[in-house]
Amino acid sequence: MKRRNAVILSLILTAVAVLSTGCSGEKYYSQSKTVFSSSIVFSAQIMHADGKGVYEQMYSAVQEIGQTVNAVDENSALYKFNQSSTTDWTEVNEHFYNLASTAKSVYEKTDGAFNCAVLDATKSWGVDSVGIANYGYGQGQPAVLPSPSELTALKQSASMDNLSVKTESGKYYIRKTIPDLKLDFGGLAKGYCADLCAEIARNRGVKSALIDISGNIVLVGDYYENGNQKKWGVGVINPRKTASNSRYVCGFKTNGGVSIVTAGDYERYYSFDYGDGEKLRVCHIIDGQTLIPISLKTGGQGYEENAQAVCSATVVGESSMLCDAYATAIAVMGVERGKQFLTDEGVSGLIFTADKKRAVVGQFDFVSSQTLYLTEYQSV
């Protein structure tokens, strides 16, 4: 008996040792899957008795949106709309309508900086998904960059003024007023998906969840660690990260109930060399008015580096769809206009420029150990 006690004691001691490396309290269910033709990763951490069930419900919703508005999926309603030359009203589902109407209103609100009608321009620049797959990550470059006359020709169709939307008897309709209009909701679809996931979480009574659609984040409720309520920590990726420097440009703590979205020139881009050894960054964010990638400006042998360009823009607000669109919009607008826009809209933001300056709009609870780009942007 005594020996058995000692054995039990030994088991307890071992268990304590092993468990002390783990944690206690309610657990998050965590899952990640690719969505939208494997180009986007949908991750979620969900604190709920049926976390797996909640994730699956969210995943189905995201897949359904993907099947509607994936611009590269030949079976999607958006692909068919883009291919069609009809200028008659077309009935669409609620997701398509919501994205189209928001894209149009943000286009108007940002004086065209945020423009979902630039699909042909992104293809000309080789910064659509096919182009990035071909040239990105140091794999090569196109023979030439689009000429100014080519861009001028594209400008006529590249306007959201060519799109009309309406609802009638509970049904949703859109129409293009010129056959060449092509839409791409890449600038706000992830946010729209994240909002729907957050709604599912709230409807299912989820206490705490982190929804992350390729960096497009929504925080539902506060974070819980070992049963203790805490703030969430969010790290903003360093837009000029190298192997030797910090992963983050900054980080901050925040309570739940917000979305955080970042747009930048550093994940989807390729380098272009005119032959003089100077590498120009050609990024996927295109100015909705000039149709030139934000990392470039006209000059030199055609285009040259835009040193004052925004290389990372983070927006914190309630609607993830609007944060998504606004992040892209302020990356296009530049620091001066971007700051003003965020202030007018009453949302917070962090803007970093290629020449390593920063601008902060609103209040942030920064994590002191993670801060680069300390030079404040000075208005000119």
């Binding site: 006690n5 304590v16 002390s20 992830k190 960096g215 983050y248 955080i260 989807r268 892209t328």
Partner: protein, 132 residues
């Protein structure tokens, strides 16, 4: 119960025999070995950074989960990460096995996937300029 009887009883129920001491010593040794990672194993990772074509995502090593990257399925289990399935012919990543120590890597060259174990992250989530 007389004083003598009580002494006798105490003798019979003596808490430790030599055997008990040996078993307890072994138990303590096992416990200490189990605790080593806690104090000396600063190398045990907390987070996995998965880079696909240069686009990074972070996952906690303390949350058991499966990560489907399309061409590869990763599993995080009991603080370790490993490749469960891959469509790549060489399967080098699959044969790398389980990793859990800081700076250990699984690399898949055909798909440009690098999986790195890193130390504790201060952040629950990263926000970056992905977009499509």
């Amino acid at each position: 119960m007389s004083g003598i009887e009580r002494k006798e009883k105490l003798k019979k129920t003596r808490v430790f025999t030599l055997g008990d001491i040996i078993v307890t010593a072994v138990a303590l040794a096992v416990s200490l070995i189990a605790l080593i990672p806690l104090f000396w194993g600063g190398e045990q990772g907390k987070t996995v950074v998965v880079s696909v074509n240069g686009v990074e995502s972070e996952y906690s090593l303390s949350v058991n989960q499966q990560i489907d990257l399309g061409s590869m399925v990763l599993v995080i289990e009991n603080g370790e990460v490993f490749v469960k399935e891959t469509t790549c012919p060489s399967k080098v990543c699959y044969h790398t096995g389980k990793i859990s120590q800081v700076n250990q890597k699984i690399v898949c060259l055909p798909y440009s996937i690098v999986i790195t174990v890193v130390g504790e992250s201060e952040f629950n989530a990263d926000t970056g300029g992905g977009g499509v």
